[in-house]
Symmetry: C3
Subunit: 477 residues, 3 copies
């Protein structure tokens, strides 16, 4: 009834359109299907021809270089997509390990983090992270421009010295940037005030992360550590994970524990509401870590690539086995959430050194990380640092372990001329952790003293979903 | 007890088999592990040797061309797999945003769509989509044959002018085809009759989609638009998304709203039953979109690839930020489902132009899309077009926006000699939208007048899972 | 209050650190961002330079070989990551199709399987699977060492005859290994005793799987089948899927059905508790199968790669359509779990032959698999073999079908000189199935007679989550 008028008009339009559309029926008996997939009508050379032209204009001896560049760049963007999926892993893990009444809030936070993380990285982070020639400590960057513009004929703004274009470099690093804030998100879940978190996360990911990262990856002062061999942190046990873990620690100290967790009768566990979501999260993180560590090879060089995939997987698996073993002994039962954190502990532990250790080294690093994480989670609970997902232990403590492991385990492969010293590694990771802690403490304290960082007791009891977002996460009809 | 006899027989068999199996124990001290992974017993050259033979037989100067072809083809099939995962994203998003009593039905619909979508694309769609030389409007294709057969020594049926083999072309495009029907699925959820949907989806994906697609990607009449520069729709804002969105609009008009949604007391929201599933859906769609847009580069050319990944991610993120901002102002709360639709709005908006805009252009396109989608969802609700997942707004409205944006924002990179005009873009997207609308309206009307398109009120109230499938989706024991 | 002292100390530290951190502010107007992404402070050549050096030292004529090697190796590790995600698919499918009270247990089992699977494959499996020159039946391997060590300049331990490095070979195959145990996990779910499963899975994945696998992929006795043409099992319909399916059958026979499933009043279905999780599982398995089959090309050769992606997708889709059709006729309703198993049936069916059949052959193979699986599931239920997820039918029965299909359907492409005979194929798959069955039966029987394989009736009734793990999977607050 409501659409009577529309119906008439539309039917009329249809009557006009039908012959227009179907009038030229010209069924083919055997279609050749020879047209390129997205030919835009004008005749033009295909991408292979364009490529050959490029090679010819550069001199044929460059052909292998361009081929290697092309495949390396492809790997970079695929790895970026894999790191992106880690954000889904973080979100579902955090949701799974917390109460159902705070689910919408957590999903909102994680959506915001990836959005603001990538945007702020374009506006300020990338050029702060990689400032080029600078004083080694601080240089605030401008927004990115057209990164293909300065690539010239050779694609990369780094020329053939860097096996990716500027955009490849940007998007891969942008996916990393949001990770730090995501780590914090898990630790402060279920009681943080949304605006406070949004402001804090923006500053952390847009400012603090790239500044601290520039010390290592941006060519900063850490190059002088370890007797000039540089600070070894392959894919970011320190500058991503420990950074996030220590930032989380500062926030949790200021924020306090969830109501009812620590009572005078002892610790009252607050169980996660969906273990399948938690497991989905960890498996997606494991998957994405192949992009996180594998992409950090920064090229498709087959030797390092295979080693990194292998050490990453082995450390994750021994991490889980270590956590299973220890938690079974200590907690007297095979604990799933400890097992899941064991995978992550192994992954964080191998992140600093995946390109220089042997399979047996990787297995040891993961195993020890899996053992550490169980005791660390129990320890922080004992001192009443309430971290619903164990982020401080997984990323902070095991991040430190990964950095130290780079100096402990025998170096294999191309890196074997190098030697990393425990002292330099320790100094580096402490500097990163301290910077993250201090920055977070100061910013979060200011937020606490101004707009407040914690929801009211009523809101916490009701759950943030209804209190802050006006809608629950689940309706089973 | 039941297996006494079997047990005896099998144990006997075991006793015979054990020495057979373990008798030849021949422990190696240090295994060389030199055998290729799937050597099929006969001695044969490895794939690298085969490859060198091909290069030699073609003349060594073709080596870079073949290398580029190989890496481009690899990217094409990986991108196809990533687009496949979008179908899981669509399924979980639709499930999450609807009522739990219709979950089995939605999962069944989405399983059917991907199955019939790929099969019909092989049987008729592919050669209809890419008819080669035709009248520009309509050519119905035959089933695909052995697409490697006509590849000759040079792999591709397009020779080196197309950086993928025929099968690569097919599988990538097949993954796209099912998308259109999936978009409709979301809009008609919770009240459509299953057989009607199955027939409609089959005709839409097998017939209408490739015909309309051939106008643009198949070398059809759209090449003459925009002053001969062709219609700019990089990866399908129009021919995939707006097509699906306008098809959905036609169906929803004929189908009517869900019972109880629009009452005389105003709009009564029907909440989704699982926000984690909705969020999983959107994150998987975001991930898959890197394959959707990135794969549409149609090669592994590093310059465009990095640009497309970057613009795609930036538009998605500003889309979310735009939706957060506007929904917070308009709805007075930070709305998660609007945020999620904001990501998708940005992604649809950038799909037409991801290869020609700058990072700042991409951020603007996404931001505007994120703002548009909030108002569009509210608008369709106001005029009582009941679209449970917002598909018409996300894919239809933002699809149009993406097409227009291709003519509005400054062109960068290789495309900068080109100019696209608003008029031509508008004409093209309206033609696509109108064709989708008219086709869908006519077919759905015929279904309505014959087998019926809507379940009974009782079935709708009970839920389609039990009513049509005989089983609920959830059992919590 | 609790942190008063800490607060003071930390604020002091912050006051010291702030000028230290921000003192050197040196804002850039237009950041050049020229530094390579992970420059470790010292000036060094980039990866492209390293690559050119390698090419130069090998003779320039090797350039295309190295390029092909590099892209093939990249595909191998990406495929490994995709196969990894299948384990998440298996986990969520199994969880979805079983009762909520056993969810933690299933997630724990699947976490353990992937962990022990990869670790045991490094410690013994890989060198058992690929023993090099051996008696064709049995050779127990040593742990892997540094697989890059013997790669020399040419990356691969197989030289250029194998398009991947040793680590690439290892990690891809390691992801396969855990699959067999995962298949069993689904069939024995909801009543198996955890320690018994853990021991059984370890022996199956660490010992039985690589031994049986060596018969085919390790250069063993199966090379003599089919008149010397070898046993055709492209990616493992027999040596992975039928192996797992027949191992599962043995375990289920010894374990017995779940309480209350088979009563004197007939079969009482035990419904799965979450169809969305089941669907997520199947879609992830479908996605991962592109890596499973596509990676089994063992290079990035474009011809086979495109064919395998296409045949894999087509068989999966016709499998679903076949299962929809038959289940609708037989069960009188469109059954979602049969549809989902139809996808998997098609995928298992195509796994043996994806590289040699045409698209129409693939569609037939999948369709028949989808029909078979429905009747097979009903059959096993009728003879009271209680398999909660249908693993015996999907992997065992359809695995046999896939092997036979390799001899039935016309061979296309490069393999067309070859001919596989039904007799040889049948003999091979029966040998694999029998070995899996006998091994599993003997080991599981010993476990049954010693530590016991089944939980008590009380534990089964209460659910394994609380009984064995002390925590339920869900808490809806």
């Amino acid at each position: 009834m409501r659409y009577t008028f529309n119906l008439k008009t539309l039917l009329l339009a249809a009557l006009v359109a039908v012959p227009f559309t179907f009038g030229n029926l010209n069924a083919q008996e055997a279609a050749p299907a020879a047209a390129p997939a997205a030919a835009e009508a004008e005749p033009e050379a295909g991408p292979v021809d364009d490529y050959l032209e490029l090679v010819e204009s550069s001199g044929a001896e460059f052909a292998p270089a361009f081929d290697f560049f092309t495949v390396s760049m492809l790997w970079t963007v695929i790895a970026a997509a894999m790191v992106f999926i880690m954000h889904l892993g973080f979100a579902t893990l955090e949701v799974g390990l917390t109460q159902s009444k705070n689910t919408v809030n957590i999903l909102f936070k994680n959506s915001f983090i990836i959005a603001i993380g990538i945007v702020s990285y374009a506006l300020i982070g990338f050029n702060t992270h990689y400032p080029g020639d600078f004083n080694g400590w601080l240089s605030i960057g401008a927004p990115i421009g057209d990164l293909n513009a300065d690539g010239g004929d050779g694609w990369g703004y780094g020329g053939l010295a860097l096996a990716m274009t500027g955009y490849g470099d940007f998007i891969f690093q942008a996916m990393f940037a949001a990770t730090a804030a995501t780590i914090v998100s898990g630790a402060v879940a279920e009681r943080i005030k949304l605006p406070a978190f949004m402001i804090f996360a923006t500053l952390l990911v847009g400012l603090a992360y790239p500044i601290v990262g520039s010390w290592h990856w941006g060519g900063g002062w850490m190059g002088g550590l370890n007797g000039g061999n540089g600070f070894k942190d392959f894919a970011g046990s320190a500058v991503v994970h420990a950074f996030g873990g220590f930032a989380a620690l500062a926030c949790v100290i200021l924020l306090g524990a969830r109501k009812g967790k620590y009572t005078k009768d002892g610790i009252k566990p607050i169980l996660g509401h969906s273990m399948p979501l938690a497991a989905v999260g960890v498996f997606l993180l494991f998957f994405g870590w192949f992009g996180f560590n594998g992409g950090s090879v920064l090229s498709a060089a087959p030797g390092p690539l295979g080693l990194v995939f292998t050490t990453t997987a082995l450390a994750a698996c021994t991490g889980a086995l270590g956590a299973i073993l220890v938690s079974w002994i200590v907690l007297k039962k095979p604990d799933l959430s400890m097992t899941l954190n064991g995978f992550l502990a192994g992954l964080v532990g191998i992140t600093a050194n995946a390109d220089i250790v042997s399979p047996s080294g990787a297995m040891m690093i993961g195993l020890i990380a899996g053992i550490i994480v169980v005791f660390s989670v129990l320890f922080f609970d004992k001192i009443r640092i309430d971290d619903p997902v164990g982020a401080i232990s997984v990323h902070g403590v095991c991040g430190v372990w990964g950095i130290l492991a780079a100096a402990i385990f025998e170096v294999v492969g191309e890196g074997d001329e190098k030697q990393f010293f425990l002292g330099g590694q320790l100094l580096g990771v402490l500097a990163v952790g301290l910077a993250a802690f201090v920055f977070s403490f100061v910013v979060f304290l200011i937020l606490k003293l101004t707009i407040g960082v914690r929801v009211s007791d009523e809101e916490e009891h009701e759950g943030l979903d209804v209190a802050e977002h006006g809608a629950p996460a689940y309706h089973i009809q």
